[in-house]
Symmetry: D2
Subunit: 471 residues, 4 copies
């Protein structure tokens, strides 16, 4: 049930520490991960421990598939404990093996730790090499294992786990939101630029860390606040401690969280994702006005931006598509000879809604252009007389090294064609991309990362680029 | 991924006869059933045959679960043939065994037949009894087996399968849309009142019968027309033959197909489901106007009626909810102690969209009232200042004997309370149900069945009522 | 874990009626079927009912695989009741679908019945045709469904189920041991010739019917006696009733039960299978004496006959093979390029036991000859100086129509070659088959069927032969 | 399908290096592991690499269950490569998680390595601790991971993998037979005492290392020789290199390999397991002669010793039991109320063979005594007039720290009772254990470890004993 347009999603993390001697966090993590499922459908896992039990005993279960496929009542019941972490994973097809799933659970001289990570390290190869020369031995190729290992290594030289997490984080370059469970503490860290989101919540006597606020709400908790870029929080029975020593002045939140990744009911850095998309739609309406009868969005993330366009332009907002939500991971895709079935299985046009109308169609991005072309063809076949395409992000022109799985340049239509050419290729009557200067306003004035549009990376990545394995 | 409000869905049928010696109908049925998945998620099955091969050889595969769970590439490859039928099944929990899945495949003196059925027979018990006294022996409790058996029995006394289907249909009372595959013919029948939908399409040299037009479109075909109430069509290499001898003057199409069951991109009896929902929304706006800031629908089927209400009232149409589409069949439901997680896992409110606003919330029905109450509570918690509820159907007051799984009277809130009381119970600021006189207009003037609202059943059901097993 | 030599096994039936209101027969049937697993490894099933509960309510579960693969604790717990039947099935590869598994559960005007069958009907096609002309409709191709259906049909014209079973049995020609469960009775029948075995046992207040006595012993019961050829026993709370009206004077017990099918710890018609094999071995020693150092058997069924040969000849009895019992149903067979791995995976030679020795090797049969040739080659490679083969059955020359899955004539080595030729082909130093005149003595003087050796069938089969589907 | 008497089996290793650029070692390892399945049924795994492909790329698959359950055709096809290792694992119930399965695959600065191990390290805890203080981080609790990790660590300080394996082995105390796969070499090592077996074979241009010779034979190879105690062999395209620098003068081969663990068709240290068991049986006949009619063995390993007893004593050798080989891993065990079903499901007595006879029953060991008591009771119930028990090993009196899973002292009947008392407890008419002085002769004069009988451990284990996790 990935996005229609082809941009891939990333990962989600969840952690909870119930200060009461309450054995139910396994189920709460299950529900929390279900609310984060849009961030990763390839694999998932949960690790729990009991801070009132024998120190360092961790139960965990991981597997390939959706949360409701990987966990049964039976496996969930075994996850007894009052502290735990969970992960949903998106991965490129090659790296989807069971050995790459998270949480990563490690056993070392100072005990055990479980680790979940959303993001991508740009210096993972260099770090891995350093650690290997120091004797590190790995079980997988993912950079998350490098990070987890580095933390455990640092722990040998310090008195407490939070010191180790902080020291390891200082050596790491890239995007990360992570949650680390030690036998008695739950630690959340967000990279200095805030590329990946992480927020803090509370339910009764339990503290929660989650990639998005929607997961805290879903389990019946209340959001306290976002973790700041560069902040480390340590949750203990004695209280919650904040450490800002990783923070820098520059921030660079991934703007794609607002455009596409995050759930519309989440707030990231206190900015509503819904509001951000409305704002993008309004900006598009101001930049590219057009006479039309109906504004529609391509499900899912284009819909709210379409509502924004409609509000600003005064053109009625409506629906044009039925999305088949039963097309799951194991769906047998139509082959070459059935090509015309392709997009139609996932998305069909509501002919009565569009017939005879001039349509403004808002989508979040154009990747290869083929899906957009198909959708426009379907709209016209259903009787739409004009289709004006508005994209709620600028054109992709540069690779992302921080975890967004953008196809390579050769596949990116914007890399090879001007917007005018793209408009023709996809068969639209007009085409407008969100302007780069509107990005910051979209995030309510927050500093965002726009490197994939501008090539202006928030950190120096020269000589660091590795194979960009996803987590 | 059932509806939020609690009304259950029914079954879907699909049949195809490729007059070319083309071995691919197994995959086409797979895609057709995927497009009909909203009509039944409990079980599914496909049976195919080769009209160019040995007579009466049928390959079939059935199982519990979604189409993409039951069929693998391997099982699909075995379904070689140029003629076939498929079924998606919804069932009450008690009757969900593998022995009740369809297609029903029978072997008898005249060869083989495969049978798929959407609907409910009101005289199944009486018929079953008659057949049993004549020596019939059954493998299941479902009325579909009674119907299939009766056809096979009739075939003994006639020269051709269509005669047998017609004769059996004459003895049957109730709702049915069925497709029967014999070694060389594909037959579709729709009950005299047209309670259940069935339509005819074409792709190249293949003819298709399907519960809804969306399935014909999804596989790349074109809709030719709806099968008429009381019509039997027989597809053969010599042509398509129509027989209207079951037809009566009275028609009674299930109005719930338009309100809720069918996909919005389908047309039923040439009436667009999208248009019908827009029309219901407009009628609600005329009957129950209110001053408000935003009109929203409860996903999925309330959304289009909300758009209609918005169009008629001039109040802006918008979105208020995020629906989690990853909550599948195997999702472990929150238990009593986690009650507040309940509805939130499936549906959450877009706070930014509703805060400070007076909301008109359109839904397709109120069954028990608890879900509506929860949603209204969530909206108000998110800052909605008023919530005016509009329901795009009249109140349920009578049982349906034709296949709609309405809860028993004790559970139906409308059975025990007036709309005014219901409004208070669910915490709404006002409540309006679609008026019965607006039902026919919704279906563009077609005669519809409104028995569940009025008790005025299209046929005499005295003394016939059986246990109402679903198909 | 089939026999090394290639002859296939058949089916096993089990029934139990606990007159106490005891809910545990599901588990007992599970253990009983486990003890009969050697009779069929393709599929199995259990059906139970509660004679103290609502009349005719049957719970059942069937599946493909071994008893311990098909049943989990969970499925077994659902099989609550004090009466039940079970089946293990062997089938040819083509007919191995789930629709052909047993018990067959039928619902008809007189209630329900569950049916399990071991055997093969020679007039199934004719009967099926007759029943079909009378309106019968089938779900499968197996002759067991014809038999079950015929019983249900007969039940319409009689007052009680045992009358119906008896009447149906009169019309049936062939081999059968069957157990029928009606809502309040458990009925066992054995065909007039006694081709298939069936015996009666008791444990506390429960009566048991089983294909072999080993199953009664395994569940902690005591064997009462064998059901007689042509006998029908009806177990009711009022007592056990015997009806001999199907009996004829001629008997024809399948001699292969003694040679190969049955477990060595079973008694069939009060003749110990162990003793029968010892007797065959002794007869071979008398007919084909040879000077040798060691007598060994090919696992499993050749081993006991080897012991008999040793006893009679005075040559020491010993072991020559290790059999790998972990090679299960899902084992990936070596392909052409790995041919030398073939037999070795299942059977290897104990070099130290055979080196430098003259060996008498006893096996139960030679089917195609290739396996025998391989084993002899392996023995000689291990240093055996002579290998004298003795076969504890006469050569197969005629097809079996009663349920033994002998390959077609073209594949049978004895059909194309004399024993002398076979001896050369397989590389033996001498070869002796059991003489036909020794068969009866093997079964302690009982009348046996030896049609597969002599072509002298116990009943007239002219014009009756059907496709010989196995049960 | 474990042994009847309760002693648990251990692990098996297999490695192959095909010097041809031949992609089929995945299947060969599958067959080799199938031949070693008797050494471990809990889990298994295969890792392969292509020495002609990119350096260090390893494909692997591991899982819980039998070889034919864990590997499908599909998973096997993915294991392409000309070098590989495999493992079958037995484990105590607590440590049966997927994270403890082997091969262990590691990635480190010098590339990758895959590691399989049979044995138990007595200083694993101390080593683990040392490594952890040096920064080691583990994923599991098994000592095999400690060993593998130590090798990878040593590799940092040396030029070649065999140097690292040797250095690591020097620090390790305990029992081990291991195979290590590096990108271009396959290395086998056997501990200095030779506690665990390992042998070398060849098939065409491929070299094989395996726990037992039966696995080399099963895949069509020829045994070259045993790896010597303390020997390391390195297989490379340039040849096979042997290094004896770990060797000591003292040897201590596990005598239980001969008594029970190994397959009877294997040779270990050039001593035939079959001959060893015959020899033990003969020694028992000399030490404890008795007048009797029949000598029988308890399946499986008692059978050959029984043959030896018979040969020496002149009493006829025969069979007394049927063993049900279908009782697999998922078999639902009889519960308390079904206790009399217990042993009977696995083993039943051939009444005809034992009735009226004085029996000598040979078994490999008596652990708790309950199974022996049950079997003797069954024999007597079947009519045996005397049962003389002979055990082909001395009484267990001391714990094994090298990998044999002997129950704790409280459960060992020999720990609390004299042989005379045990004889009474189990209901035997006489009882004789193999004498310690006969052990060495059994192994054809080789030095063996007899610590579990005498307490005389081959190495100093004071202060080293860890939790004895099995591999």
């Amino acid at each position: 049930m990935s996005n229609i347009s082809g941009l891939k999603e990333e990962c989600g993390v969840f952690g909870i520490y119930d200060l009461d001697n309450n054995q139910s966090v396994g189920r709460t993590i299950y529900y929390g991960l279900s609310a984060l499922q849009h961030r990763g459908q390839e694999a998932c896992g949960i690790a729990v421990s009991d801070t009132y039990g024998p120190k360092g005993n961790i139960e965990y279960h991981k597997g390939l598939g959706l949360v409701n496929e990987v966990f049964s009542k039976e496996t969930l019941e075994k996850l007894d404990g009052n502290i735990g972490v969970g992960h949903v994973r998106y991965s490129t097809s090659g790296g989807g093996g069971i050995e790459n799933t998270q949480p990563i659970v490690l056993k070392y001289v100072k005990g055990t730790l479980a680790f979940v990570h959303n993001g991508n390290l740009v210096n993972a190869n260099r770090l891995r090499n350093q650690l290997e020369w120091g004797g590190a031995i790995f079980h997988s190729d993912v950079d998350s294992e490098v990070f987890a290992y580095h933390i455990a290594r640092e722990r040998l030289h310090t008195d407490c786990i939070e010191e180790a997490v902080k020291n390891a984080s200082k050596d790491v370059k890239g995007a990360y939101a992570l949650v680390v469970m030690s036998p008695r503490k739950l630690i959340g860290v967000r990279d200095p630029y805030g590329l990946k989101p992480l927020c803090l919540g509370k339910r009764d006597n339990a503290y929660i860390l989650a990639s998005e606020s929607c997961a805290i709400n879903a389990v019946g908790g209340e959001v306290i606040r976002d973790i700041e870029p560069g902040e480390m929080v340590t949750i203990t029975p004695e209280g919650i401690f904040s450490d800002m020593s990783l923070a820098t002045t520059k921030k660079a939140r991934c703007v794609f969280e607002y455009i596409y990744f995050a759930r519309a009911d989440s707030k990231i850095d206190n900015v509503s994702v819904y509001d951000a998309r409305i704002s993008a739609g309004k900006a598009l309406a101001r930049s590219y006005p057009v006479e039309a009868d109906l504004v529609v969005g391509v499900p899912e993330s284009g819909i709210i931006a379409a509502k924004g366009y409609a509000e600003e332009s005064g053109i009625p907002f409506g629906l044009a598509f039925y999305k088949n939500s039963y097309i799951g991971r194991t769906f047998i895709k139509p082959d070459q000879s059935e090509r015309e079935i392709g997009v139609k299985m996932k998305l069909s046009v509501l002919e009565s809604a569009v017939k005879g109308k001039r349509i403004v169609m808002v989508d979040d991005s154009i990747v290869r252009g083929t899906t957009s072309a198909n959708i426009i063809k379907m709209l016209k076949a259903a009787g739409a007389v004009e289709v004006h395409v508005r994209i709620s992000s600028p054109p992709f022109l540069h690779p992302c090294y921080f975890g967004t799985d953008v196809p390579s340049n050769e596949q990116l239509i914007a890399h090879k064609h001007t917007p005018e050419e793209i408009c023709k290729i996809i068969g639209a009557d007009s085409l407008g991309y969100l302007k780069i200067e509107d990005l910051s306003q979209m995030a309510n004035g927050l500093e965002v990362c726009h490197a994939c549009f501008t090539g202006d990376y928030p950190m120096d990545i020269t000589g660091e680029i590795n194979s960009s394995e996803e987590k």
